[in-house]
């Protein structure tokens, strides 16, 4: 089989970067329009009508959130591997397998370090 990978359009990489850069520039520019305040109270403080405001959440750890992060990492890993179905050599499947495995290793390591495995 003499199949060759097609040449990559540079805009496949540059296009998304361009969109993100333009997006952040517009976001910062639009930010000049509004005023900012921080630190005290929440958005609904002026509307509590003298009643005690619902306290802020403070520190919170969600196992569901960790699960979702892992879910997404595995999903990305599976999608990239699926993209190799037409690969002419085993280079890309092995590369993405190693990359995906590395990501899972790092995430699991992080999960253990932050105490996610402690019960």
């Amino acid at each position: 089989m003499n199949r060759r990978m097609p040449a990559l359009d540079p805009f496949v990489i540059a296009g998304p970067i361009l969109v993100v850069v333009a997006d952040v520039i517009v976001y910062v520019a639009v930010g000049k329009l509004g005023t900012k305040s921080s630190g005290k109270g929440g958005k609904y403080q002026p509307f509590t009508g003298g009643e005690e405001q619902i306290p802020a959440r403070g520190t919170y750890q969600s196992e569901l959130f960790v699960f979702a992060a892992l879910f997404m990492v595995v999903e990305a890993f599976a999608l990239i591997l699926a993209g190799c179905f037409a690969s002419p050599t085993n280079f890309y499947p092995l590369l993405f397998l190693a990359g995906g495995g590395g990501v899972i290793l790092v995430v699991t390591w992080w999960l253990i370090l932050v105490g996610g495995m402690r019960y």
């Binding site: 097609p6 359009d9 496949v12 952040v24 959130f65």
Partner: protein, 324 residues
Amino acid sequence: MIAGEVAEILIFPGLTFFVWIAFLFDWLDRKTSARMQQRVGPLVAGPSGILQPVADFFKLTSKEEIVPEFADKFIFFLGPPLFFAAPAIGIIFIPVFGATAIVSNEYDLLFVLFIIAFSALMAAFLGYAAAGRWSTIAMGRLIAQYTGYEIPLIIALITPAILAHSLSIAGIVQAQQNMWYIVLAPLSFVVFIVSALAELEKPPFDIPSAKTEIVGGWMTEFSGRPLAYIKLTKNLSYAFLSALAVSLFLGGPLGPVLFSDPALQAGVDFGYFLVKLLVVGFVIFVIRTALARIKIDQAVRFFWMVITPLSLIQLGFIMLVWWK
């Protein structure tokens, strides 16, 4: 040459064009639901209130931005433009004139799938970073819902790829010259629309942003410019997912050839695309207005017990019958 490509990506038919489509979708959504509920809907800004979403956006951007005391400041401010970037990047892979997109690659459908997943997780990040009670509850709901609809959504979008033997959106559009995939895989289209409703947090899956239960959901603590961006992103996702449905199931911009001149035909194709986009959008507007919100456990059960098997049945049928 490069300036032309940059203009296509940022202005037309790329980002700016789709932002206007997003505003149009917001207006049509509000008008449709208003008419179905015997109300008038937006009326003041522009003819029939068509500029109301634009006015709302600029009004919000000029309002005060309040940052909660315990919020993660970095994500709180950087999150909204990143959340916006997800559908904004996705639209450049959608063919609008003929069967070619502004940017195309052999595997761009996989990239788009990743973008959809990133968008949901970014919303959860934003809710988490806001450090509010309501946003925390909403974040949990969002993640539970996400784990329910993500798998059938992926299966529904991979089905046209299998039919076309291509993971490129432009390739899938080209493969539908003779037959739209909504005919060959109607269940996948239904699964996609239902999953898209969940991704967009529209009724009956507006559980993470249920106003009568958890105030503004994960967006509760956001105000001013970040809130304006988040709302715009949701409308842009609305347009993006509808455009994706048009590309993967309704032949994209392809339709009967009326002119031999390619430039004139491209204009006609653009018209086909807009009509199909509005039809898909309208289907979503009507469903979301007609149905009431369900509970999170019902939603997750519905996705795992009904929608996922449906998507698998369609995929299995396609692989048995149409696989060459």
